[in-house]
Symmetry: C2
Subunit: 247 residues, 2 copies
């Protein structure tokens, strides 16, 4: 299996794509399914999210650290971890990973990855490689405001290491760069703390979220893109379902 | 001063640009001037280099670790450090940094930077900022075969830290990412050793070059682009002269 890594999204992408946004949307996504959610839609558009609310979807999201008017919850995993969402559907608005979903529309398979579900994502990707020995996976880091960031690069390293342990792999140069950070940051929380996204959350006094997002492979849930749904105006909603990861 | 960093070259660039290729061309460049060289031309083209040899330029360069036919020397700083090049001119061929010089042609000022001359480059850039408080510097990492690599990213961090110490600075996201590696790699040799470029040189048994290139601020020479000269065919030669850095 060939493992590519992009420290910021380029695309368009093909093959298997893991979209990484460690702080915080790709940590929140598996968490919501653990709390009982049946369907999750991601969008960068407040307007598309509000339109979905009329059809009974819960709204999650923040602008500058605060849920916008009419939203049920923010994006804080530490806060969301206590909810019972059994059977509910939710739309999550975030300015990071959802902005890049357009670029992965052409991929065969799109998974959401973070430290939180790293092991489960790696097992899911490895199972793909069994069906296709020439399989190619691209680890797409969301970064922060268009620039590479330490949190997602470290997560790409953790995912690449887990994949390499499971299957014979050929890591690209950027993947090897990400792998080289693992020994330098033995405590993932330190990397999240030092990252630009981490500084942003610390200014909002959301240190608890850093601790939550630093948990490695605590979740067995792998959110997978199943459908692009029309949203309000030009911004679509991307609907995800939870895969149970192969054991 | 605003400090941007590109982990691989994009461009075209404006303002002040520091082109970074730690392993090895931007370490070799200041070293050659220290050994007495009067002029240095960089090119990615063997043909352009050979044409210059007819006019008395020395030829330096390697393909797969070996000097091509008719070349005087390779690209190994450990080997070149013993030469007396007083008053000579040399053309250096390398597949890394010289490939990207076309993209920095529009910049006000182009310097070559590495760990080896980091302090001198930082002082030179800081002096620019005194004349223009809105100055913008871009640290352009060559990377390895089009992908980001640890050696140049760490060097960007070292340069950004030195600049930030000298002048009030606003580092971009990617610059902060590079800065975050400094504490994780307190020994720069470890970062060069782990880098993809470092692995390549280790396979060629050039570990001595890694040790040479890991010296921080050992040189006071800052190579600055002064002229684009026509080369053979379509590949130009980029001529550099040595600046003495401000003290």
């Amino acid at each position: 299996m060939r493992i590519h890594t992009d420290l910021t999204p380029t695309g368009p992408y093909h093959g298997v794509v893991v979209l990484i946004d460690t702080l915080r949307s790709c940590t929140v996504a598996p968490l919501l399914f653990e709390r009982g959610l049946s369907e999750l839609a991601l969008t960068p558009s407040l307007r598309s999210a509000r339109a979905a609310a009329d059809e009974g979807w819960l709204l999650l999201g923040e602008r500058q650290g605060v849920p916008p008017e009419g939203f049920n919850y923010g994006n804080s995993p530490a806060e969301l971890a206590g909810l019972d969402l059994t059977g509910r559907r939710a739309v999550m608005v975030s300015e990071n990973a959802p902005r890049y979903l357009e670029r992965v529309e052409g991929a065969d398979r799109v998974l959401l990855g973070s430290l939180y579900n790293a092991g489960a994502v790696a097992r899911t990707v490895a199972a793909t490689a069994d069906a296709d020995p020439d399989a190619q996976v691209t680890l797409v880091c969301s970064g922060f405001e268009g620039e590479p960031d330490l949190d997602d690069t470290l997560t790409a390293g953790v995912l690449a290491a887990a994949l390499t342990e499971l299957r014979r792999s050929r890591p690209s140069g950027a993947t090897r760069f990400a792998l080289s950070l693992l020994r330098a940051f033995p405590d993932p929380l330190e990397a999240l703390w030092q990252s630009v996204a981490g500084h942003y959350l610390r200014r909002l006094e959301l240190e608890r979220d850093l601790a939550f997002c630093a948990q490695v492979s605590a979740s067995q849930v792998v959110p997978q893109l199943v459908e692009r749904m029309p949203g309000a105006g030009s911004a679509p909603l991307y609907r995800f379902e939870a895969l149970g990861a192969p054991t």
